[in-house]
Symmetry: C2
Subunit: 400 residues, 2 copies
C-alpha cells in the first residue's frame, strides 16, 4: 500500500517525521525512524524543513511575457493606460499564450505553488482565445498542479458589449469563477456590473472573484454592495475581493462593521502586500475573522516587470509591508500564502494530513521564519507524492 | 603590464567588452575580442552582465546575529524598546562580535557589495569593544572590501554620560565618521546633540552620519538644523542623514525649500525603502539635486529578523516602494545601491573606468532591469581584479 516514504523531514515545530505516501496521498505522518515497508521507495529528506505546497491565489498567467526577451515597461500611470497599453503589447507578441503561460506555470511550480488561481482576460477583441489556451495548459499540467480559472473582463464588462456573453460561454467551457473589475471606476455602473456578475454566478452555481482598485469611499461603498449581493444570492463563502486598496485608506475603526460583515459572509480578500500603496489592514481584519490571502498578481507582463512567482517571497513582502517581525506574525504571513489561500479558493483536502494529496515542499531552512526571510531556492517540490521540481527547475518540462 | 583579461562581458547598454586588468586596476575597457597580451590570464565571461560592485551605505555589522541559530524577534514596538531589548540580547550572545560581523561581511561580499559603511555601537556598557572587534574585521578583509566605520551612540549621546569621550577615542582609533541618533527623540536635547557631534566632526576633520527616526515636523525641524550646522561647520558634502522618515510625511511642496538646501550643502540621504512606513520621496528630492542612497540597515539582528545583505534586492525593494516600473526608474533604484552610495560615502575611484579598482560583479541577466527584478544568485564577484566570490559563496573564508 505505502509506495514511498519521505524520511527525516523537519516540521515547523521542530519535530522530525517520516511521511508515508500511498498512491499520491499522505497515508501517515510518523515520528522519524518509524519502520518503512520493505517495498516502499525511500527518499531521504536529510532534515529539510517540510512545508505544505504554496497557494498562489491571484495570478494572470495568460498575460505574462515570461520567457520572452526583456520588454521595457511602457504604460502610462492610470489603470486605463495600463489596460490600453496591454492590449497593444499582447497584439505584438508572437509567442502564443499557452506557451508563455506554460513557461510561467512551470516556474511557479518550481517555486512550490501547486494550487494556483489565475484570472483569464476576456473581451470582444480577445474573445475566448486566452480561455482556450489556458484550458490546454491546464490539461498539460493536470497531473502536477491544480489550476483554477476566473473569467476576467479586463477591458470592462458593460462598457464592452458582448463581454457578458463571452463570460457565460467561458463558464460553460470549464472556467470556474466569475470575475469582475471596478464596477464604478471602469464600468461606470456599479450596481449594473454587480447585478450582472452575481447573476452569472448564481445561474451557474459559481463563485466570484472581483478586482477592486477603486479607492477611498467609492471602494468601500462597493464592498458593502458586494456583501449585499453575496447575501442576497446565497453566495456566502464563495466570493473574493482582490486588492481592495480602499480598506487601507481610512482609519480601521471606520471599517470595523464592514469587516465583521465580510467575516460573516466569508468573503475573502486578496492582497499583494503592495509597498507603494494602501492595502487592507490585514491583522486588524483577521482579528475580526476575515480570511485574507496573498497573490502575485501579474508576473513580468505589460502591467509590471516585477514578480517571480515565488509565494514565499510574496509572504515575506507581506510581512515587510506590515513590519511583522516576530515568529507569530511571520507565520501569519505564511498562512496568507497557504491555508488562507486554500480557504479562499475553496480547496478540499489541502495541507499536510493523512488522506490529503501529498503536496509539499522540502527546503534547507531552520524553521518557518528562517524560510521566509531567506527564501532558499534549493527547494524540492513534491506533487502527489512525486518530486516534480528541484532547485528552481521543473523536472519534466512540457515546453518545447 | 596587463595581468588578467575578463573577456566577453556585456555592459548594461548591451555592448560586449573585454576588461584588461593590471595590478588590481582597470587598465582598459575594450570592445570584446580585442587582442589580449600573451602573458595575461584570460577569464571567459560568457556574455554575463557586467555591473560595478555594489555599495552598502548603511549596515550594522557589529550587532548581527548572522550565522547563529534562529532567534525569534522579542522586542516591543518602540524605538526605546528596541534599544533596551538589543542590549539584553547582545549580553546573552556568546559568539564574539568579530566572528558574527565577519560572517555577515563575507555574505555581503558574496552578494557583490565591496564598499560598505557600517555603524558601530558605542555606549558606556559596550565601551569600545565593538570598535575593537570591527577594526580586527577590517584588517582581516582589507584586501577584499572597503569598510567604513561610523561611531554610533545607539543608546543615546548626552543622556549616556561618557559616550562623547568614547566616540572621541573611537575616532582616534580609526573610525572615520561621527554618528548621531535622534537628537530630539532620544537625546531630548536637539541642539546640544548636534553641537556635540558637529564639534567632534569639525575638530577631527570628519564627516557625519546621523540616524533620524524622529517623525513629522520634529524630524523636519532637525533636518533644517542639521543643514545649519553643516553650513556653519563647513561640512558641505560630508554629511548624511539616515532614514529621515519625516521627509515622506508631508506633501512634497512643503519640503521643496529644505530639499534645495540639502542639495546645495550636498547632504546625502539614506533610505532602506521601508514598505511599512513613510520614506523620503526619492524621485522628487533627486530632481532637486539631492543625493539619495539605499542601505540594508540591520541584517538579522535583535532589531529585525529581516535582511540578507543583497543590495540588488535592496534596490528592488526601493523600486517596489515607489512603483518604479520603467527602465529609467529601475536604473535609478540601482544608482541608489551604487553611484549614489559611492557619492555619499565619499569614495574615490568608484565605478567601471580605466584607472579605477577592478571591483565588479558578473551575473547571468539580460540587462540591468532584469538583474534587479530577478536578482540571480549566480554572481561572480571580482575585487581588485580577483574573483572573491561565486554563487553566493565567499571563496576564501576567514571564518574558522
Amino acid at each position: 500500500m505505502v509506495d514511498t516514504v519521505y524520511r527525516n523531514l523537519r516540521q515547523p515545530d521542530g519535530s522530525a517525521v517520516d511521511l508515508a505516501i500511498a498512491d499520491g496521498r499522505i497515508l501517515a505522518i510518523e515520528p522519524a525512524g518509524s519502520a518503512a515497508p520493505a517495498e516502499a521507495r525511500i527518499v531521504e529528506g536529510d532534515g529539510r524543513l517540510l512545508l505544505p505546497a504554496l497557494v498562489e491565489s491571484h495570478a494572470h498567467l495568460d498575460k505574462t511575457l515570461w520567457g520572452l526577451p526583456w520588454r521595457p515597461h511602457s504604460a502610462g500611470p492610470s489603470l486605463k493606460d495600463l489596460i490600453a497599453n496591454e492590449r497593444r503589447v499582447l497584439r505584438e507578441v508572437e509567442v502564443p499564450t499557452a506557451k508563455r503561460a506554460g513557461a510561467l506555470l512551470e516556474n511557479c511550480i518550481a517555486r512550490g505553488s501547486l494550487h494556483i488561481r489565475t484570472h483569464i482576460d476576456i473581451d470582444p477583441e480577445i474573445g475566448l482565445n486566452h480561455v482556450e489556451a489556458l484550458l490546454t495548459v491546464r490539461e498539460a499540467y493536470r497531473d502536477v498542479v491544480e489550476l483554477q480559472f476566473v473569467a476576467f473582463p479586463q477591458s470592462g464588462l458593460l462598457i464592452q458589449p458582448g463581454t457578458v456573453e463571452l463570460m457565460e460561454r467561458a463558464l460553460e467551457m470549464g472556467v470556474e469563477t466569475v470575475g469582475g473589475l471596478d464596477p464604478a471606476g471602469i464600468d461606470n455602473d456599479a450596481i449594473g456590473h454587480l447585478k450582472t456578475i452575481f447573476d452569472l454566478a448564481a445561474r451557474h452555481g459559481r463563485g466570484i472573484d472581483i478586482h477592486l482598485h477603486d479607492v477611498g469611499e467609492l471602494g468601500l461603498w462597493q464592498i458593502e454592495r458586494i456583501a449585499d449581493f453575496t447575501e442576497a444570492c446565497g453566495l456566502a463563502g464563495k466570493v473574493m475581493v482582490s486588492h481592495a486598496f480602499c480598506l487601507g485608506m481610512v482609519p480601521t475603526m471606520q471599517i470595523e462593521t464592514l469587516g465583521r460583515r465580510l467575516a460573516e459572509l466569508r468573503i475573502s480578500l486578496m492582497t499583494t502586500g503592495a509597498a507603494d500603496f494602501s492595502v487592507p489592514p490585514v491583522a486588524f481584519l483577521k482579528a475580526l475573522g476575515v480570511n485574507i490571502c496573498c497573490g502575485s498578481d501579474g508576473i513580468r507582463d505589460a502591467w509590471s516587470p516585477f514578480g517571480n512567482g515565488d509565494m514565499l517571497e510574496r509572504a515575506l513582502l507581506l510581512a515587510l509591508r506590515f513590519d511583522w517581525r516576530n515568529d507569530e506574525e511571520l507565520a501569519s504571513a505564511f498562512e496568507a500564502a497557504t491555508i488562507a489561500g486554500a480557504r479562499a479558493l475553496g480547496l478540499t483536502g489541502y495541507g499536510l494530513a493523512p488522506g490529503h494529496a501529498a503536496n509539499f515542499i522540502l527546503l534547507p531552512a531552520e524553521n518557518l521564519s528562517d524560510a521566509l526571510v531567506r527564501r532558499p531556492q534549493e527547494r524540492i517540490v513534491v506533487s502527489r507524492g512525486k518530486i516534480v521540481a528541484r532547485d528552481g527547475h521543473f523536472l519534466e518540462s512540457r515546453q518545447r
